[in-house]
Symmetry: C2
Subunit: 222 residues, 2 copies
DNA sequence: ACTTACAGACCGACTTGACGGTTTGTTGAG
DNA sequence: CTCAACAAACCGTCAAGTCGGTCTGTAAGT
């Protein structure tokens, strides 16, 4: 067994793992700071401080790099959420804290990277497939963390799922809005109303259709 | 005066306007069908059936093309909304119809194009500036159309603005979600709960802060 | 009316640079 | 010694933008 020190004597596996991580981290950074279209293999390579050969060795094509970056990013997001949720402790208002935590997660750089990939996935089937499985996994663990924080008995209870889903939609939309509008007051009010809506939704039965309005004619969408 | 027939005799101004429109339409189409990063000047040029010279004559740089496409797209979206709102007539449930209309608008191709530009704008200041003004303009006219449909006395009444804003956030987020998940049942429930939430919000005072939870430490965002 | 002069609209070959990927070579672990 | 891990030169392709030239309305001169 090799020593646990950071000695220059490292096993191949370790070396490979670190450079792989460096490349993936660089990819995420690039997505965050330069956006999807500027996330070129060369940009990633330079950012990671690796040679072209190294990049191509680990990720034979750009597609694979992005696909793997999706997984990498999703793991990071899950880890972050878990850590933060655990660190919340038993505060006074767990609900508000939990919702605020979610909002915090969705205005951070990791989420920005996710959005870049997400939108790109609209016109990239492979990327979309990768995102679907990753996001499903993340959604599940997020639900568990938040059920803990928000004090729900069962993460899979329909009312809880629906309420959380609603909050997620709002924050997803708001994170887009925040790209164009940066307004602290607006942000606080958003948080307040969303928290309230969440509470209301939790106490509401499955959501009775108030008006059955079909999504309407497909052809007339703009 | 020239004849009103489609004779080959057109004024310079007319010629320029049509090719300009063709190019901008092609740009939007390209954004919708191929996404932002694949929206190259050559792709647009081919799609519009225009020579390279023509493109560069009207839009000396790609930046200008995209900037102008933002304005073009926003106008199109506004026109569509206005038409549809006017066509709604005096149905039974105007509120549900209005909300459904909004959702319809935000799942259509024009909105998809807008999202592509929107996300790209995160890392492109010029694009962002263009989008801010365009989106502000569109937001205003959308509010007026919907105030009409939703039966609000004043489009600028705070309660109405807030409620509409909330719905917009939800639908923005949901339109992202819809990229990965296409589920008619989910869509119907979304529409139902959102409509209900909108109604509830209209009857609620300015939104009392249920818990003053600051956006928290900047440094710990993921 | 007919010509001439001009300007805006449009064309397409070309330059430059960068991107994704291949190939060949070197190093270090097992 | 063998092979994975990396390095770096290299290649084909294509995007963006430039440039000289052509075509077509428009308007002034006669």
């Amino acid at each position: 067994m090799p020593s646990t020190s950071a000695a220059p004597r490292r096993t191949q596996e370790e070396r490979a793992a670190t450079t792989r991580a460096r490349i993936l981290d660089a990819t995420v950074d690039c997505l965050v700071e330069e956006g999807y279209s500027a996330t070129t293999t060369t940009a990633v390579q330079q950012r990671a401080g690796v040679s072209r050969g190294a990049l191509m060795h680990h990720f034979p094509s750009k597609q694979e790099l992005l696909i793997d970056a999706v997984a990498h990013l999703t793991v990071q997001r899950g880890v972050w959420l878990g850590e933060q949720a655990a660190a919340l402790g038993t505060g006074t208002d767990r609900t508000a804290a939990g919702i605020a935590l979610l909002w915090q997660a969705m205005t951070g750089p990791l989420f920005a990277a996710a959005i870049e990939l997400w939108v790109a996935a609209r016109t990239d089937e492979d990327l979309r497939d990768a995102l679907v499985v990753s996001e499903r996994r993340l959604g599940r663990s997020a639900r568990e963390f938040l059920a803990e924080v928000l004090g729900a008995q069962d993460p899979d209870e329909p009312a809880f799922r629906d309420a959380l889903d609603h909050v997620l939609q709002v924050f997803r939309g708001a994170s887009l809005t925040a790209i164009l509008r940066t307004d602290a007051r607006w942000e606080r009010r958003l948080l307040a109303t969303t928290t309230q809506t969440f509470i209301d939704l939790l106490g509401t039965p499955p959501a009775l259709d108030p008006a059955r309005h079909e999504p309407a004619n497909e052809e007339t969408r703009p």
